[in-house]
Amino acid sequence: MGEKILLAHGSGSRLSHDLISKVLAPSIMNPVLARMDDSAVLNMSGKLAFTTDSYVVNPIFFPGGHIGRLAVCGTVNDLSMSGARPLYISLALIIEEGLDIDDLRQVMASVKDTAVEAGVQIVTGDTKVVDHGKADRLFINTSGIGLIEYGTDISGSNARPGDKIILSGGIGEHGMAVMSQREGLHLSLPVTSDCAPLNHLVSVMLSVSKNIHSLRDPTRGGLASTLNEFAKQSDVGITIEEDKIPVCDGVRGACELLGLDPLYIANEGKLVATVTEVDSGKVLSAMKKNKYARQAVVIGEVTTEHRGRVVMKTSIGSSRIVDMPVGEILPRIC
């Protein structure tokens, strides 16, 4: 049996220091962190974006990623969706007693790789160990600071009638990957999480257009939630076309089987943007050059009609409302 995390690893003792210096810190070391003081001291000026998020995904390892990559991507993406360039991230771990130290090593290795990919530094952190049963293996909180450099005002409240709605790729992959792993669904077409840092994609988009009005990553609640948020916050109507929305066969098949709607399934590496019609073409072609947005597509537009609502033209030529999801998404009986 491999080495396990003990309560003593969180006690501030030599074991704690060993854990930090041997397992946690080496992979993410940088000059700010190396000072090992009580707080990170950062030299910044300009308009800042600041965000925080906690990650409690079960299971912590899932097809296409795990909690470490997710924790970095989530915060990087939240900053990016405000039009900020992510720079610094904090990393706080709440570890359940008994976690395999090898699992922790694997998580940290990917935290490092993802931070390198995104070009962010982890500048402060914390580690707590709790009794067995008081947490579910590993919880992570990350906070992040980014710099708003492009002078654009990007907000869910800024969608304007006439804007085109661009989706960066296929939906539902993260949620379905996690669900299939958690519930032991052996899908014949396996689905892997789309978990990815989107800051470089956003940066390319902002470099070609000053007319991106809203950006959001459709995480929990899926595309349907994000579009409803835009419609309500901006007091506009949104019309989308079912046929335009990319959904891979694995997600489609699993959704058919479970009676779920891909519109409501979580993504961790996709974004939705509202962009003026004039700029939508160049934004789209810039996006398609990024590896995380090859399938980017215009899925609809912002209108003055049916304000506060999202209406979808269905595949068979009719239309229906796409509402916010309600509560936990549960599979049906038959």
Binding site: I316, S318, P331, R332, I333
Partner: protein, 363 residues
């Protein structure tokens, strides 16, 4: 995706809708029995493609919705028995019983786990030999054979900590009860697709014969449903009533004999209480005497609170097709998916939830 895309073909859907408009000369009142059909109709916007004089009513074909309060109360009470693991399909979690729901019971400490099949429930019993595992057997003829098979498997493997709380129901008696009530004056019924895969079409013959109602078994894709509507309208226009199948890739007239044998081996028919309709003779399934030892209701005695119905909730009339969800005073106001009063607003296949989710609350 094969077997899906061709049944969502926009051109074919349009041609079917045009054909319906062309042949339909008189008002027709059709009921889709099955909740899966209700969802497909709302989700694809099929009603908007039909002439206004064709009325589509939703029937009682959502197993969650027709589960009586008392039966939900019993499941909730069982979940509070120390040491018991309750396994259930996800839909059941949020359904309000008289005072609470399984979701609330779980928050109160009940070990309630969502499963995707009866096999998962059986597996929970295998891997927890020191715990007692109860599966909430809620569903129609589609679910019943899987429950039967799990019972037989438990017996074969001598798994002695596995129990079924059996509230399985059968659709033909409910359909007959609705026709017998005569409240809705139906001209045609879209018969359930998956249920018919198991039971075949024979049980419907009597409805066509005795009540003059056109019957067509339909699949769940837009083209399936439009084709079924077209076949129903054709029968109505021709003044005939018979049972047709518009879902030949899934349904044979004789049904699935093996599944029927399984059910006959494990279950007896029994009277069952349907929410909104009441007691229907021989409409439920109970474990045969020889499988008594798997019956959770016999094994665990629990005290049940007095049954309480929710004031103002018209789920009953909605389940009988007497009113549409939008006709209920609570719909979209006091009763929403966030704060459901009745089960039809909870279940993903409930007609109120389908109407709400897909936009009928805008009129």
């Amino acid at each position: 995706m094969k077997f899906i895309d061709e049944f969502r073909d926009p051109g074919l859907s349009r041609r079917l809708a045009d054909k319906i408009a062309q042949i339909s000369t008189r008002p027709a009142r059709l009921m889709e029995f099955c909740g899966g059909h209700t969802v497909a109709i709302m989700r694809n916007g099929i009603r908007q493609l039909l002439p206004p004089h064709i009325e589509m009513l939703s029937g009682p074909g959502c197993p969650v919705c027709v589960t009586a309060n008392r039966d939900i109360d019993r499941a909730i009470a069982l979940s509070q028995v120390p040491g018991l693991i309750i396994t259930t399909f996800g839909d059941m979690l949020k359904v309000p019983g008289s005072y609470s729901s399984l979701q609330q019971a779980r928050a109160a400490g009940g070990d309630i786990r969502i499963v995707y099949s009866t096999q998962d429930a059986l597996q929970a019993a295998r891997v927890n030999p020191d715990r007692l595992v109860v599966f909430l057997g809620v569903g129609f003829e589609t679910t019943a054979p899987t429950v039967a098979s799990a019972v037989l498997q438990a017996e074969r493997e001598k798994i002695d900590n596995f129990y079924i709380l059996c509230h399985l129901k059968m659709t033909p008696p409910a359909m007959r009860a609705l026709l017998e009530l005569g409240e809705t004056h139906l001209n045609g019924i879209i018969c359930p697709g998956h249920v018919s895969t198991i039971i075949g079409t024979k049980p419907y013959q009597a409805y066509a014969r005795d009540y003059g109602v056109a019957c067509v078994v339909a699949g769940f894709e837009p083209v399936d449903i439009l084709q079924a509507v077209e076949m129903l309208v054709q029968q109505i226009e021709d003044g005939i009533a018979r049972v047709d199948i518009a879902y030949t890739r899934g349904v044979r007239p004789e049904g699935n004999i093996r599944a029927q044998d399984l059910m006959n081996d494990v279950f007896d028919t029994t009277d069952a209480c349907w929410r909104g309709i009441g007691d229907i003779s021989k409409s439920g399934l109970s474990l045969k005497n020889k499988y008594n030892r798997y019956d959770a209701a016999r094994r665990f005695e629990v005290e049940l609170p007095p049954v309480r119905e929710h004031a103002g909730c018209r789920c009953g009339e909605i389940l009988r097709g007497v009113i549409r969800p939008v006709d209920c005073g609570l719909f979209g106001k006091a009763c929403t998916p966030e704060n459901p009063v009745g089960p039809c607003m909870v279940s993903s296949e409930g007609s109120c939830a389908a109407y709400y989710q897909y936009g009928a609350h805008d009129g």
